[in-house]
């Protein structure tokens, strides 16, 4: 079965510093990978996805993610974090259903 793992429950960074949220995947066949963000008491919002092609995918709000086939990873990155990036981030792998990781809470301190 397809699955993703987010090894960190929490990530804390200072504003202006780079932000990385880790995700590893386990799939048979081609992986279709997604990142979503959830702000408190809100629904999930799509950030970006990897389907095929360029390993570096750019998304909303200045986020990008790098697909690494040899390491089976799809880490989310932002060069300079903002306090407003503080939220819960989910990695997901898609077949007919989307299977989500456990989520990583990002806190960006001013």
């Amino acid at each position: 079965a397809q699955s993703v793992a987010q090894p960190e429950d929490q990530v804390n960074v200072a504003e202006g510093n780079p932000l990385t949220v880790k995700c590893t995947y386990s799939v048979s066949g081609n992986p279709y990978l997604f990142w979503y963000v959830q702000y408190p008491n809100r629904g999930l919002q799509f950030l970006l996805k990897y389907i095929t092609g360029d390993n570096l995918v750019k998304g909303s709000y200045g986020f990008e993610a790098e697909f690494n086939k040899s390491q089976t990873s799809f880490h989310l990155k932002k060069p300079s974090a903002l306090v407003s990036d503080s939220a819960l981030y989910f990695c997901a792998v898609r077949d007919l259903r989307s299977r989500f990781g456990a989520g990583t809470t990002v806190t960006v301190r001013a």
């Binding site: 279709y32 008491n41 809100r42 629904g43 259903r97 989520g103």
Partner: protein, 114 residues
């Protein structure tokens, strides 16, 4: 205009009662989903409909019954509510039931069973 809207946003009810949550999407999508988010924020798919036809039915108690009157609406009815049903229920939609489309989520319906 809200793309995926759910009502009600909050439900507080007693054990044993029956409740419904409604969902509507105005994106013209063919596929709709119900997800359950538990207290640890873990997300699990419950059901999916493609053009009114049930295509995913995870191992959900049969007290939960989805209904899709048309492809823009997907409702969730829950009978004989239990304490463990307390969660946030999210409706979502995607353009088609393929593997490459992202999901669009509603704001969630927080169910509290007392």
């Amino acid at each position: 205009d809200t793309a995926v809207s759910q009502t009600p946003k909050y439900l507080v009810t007693q054990m044993g009662n029956d409740k419904s949550i409604k969902c509507e999407q105005n994106l013209g999508h063919d596929t709709m989903y119900w997800y359950k988010q538990d207290s640890k924020k873990f997300l699990k798919i419950m059901f999916s409909y493609n053009n009114k036809e049930l295509i995913i039915n995870e191992t959900v108690p049969n007290r939960f019954s989805p209904k899709s009157p048309d492809k823009a609406h997907l409702n969730l009815h829950i009978n004989s509510l239990e304490l463990g049903d307390s969660a946030v229920y999210f409706c979502a939609s995607s353009q088609v039931a393929t593997t490459t489309g992202e999901l669009f989520f509603g704001e969630g319906s927080r169910l509290t069973v007392l």
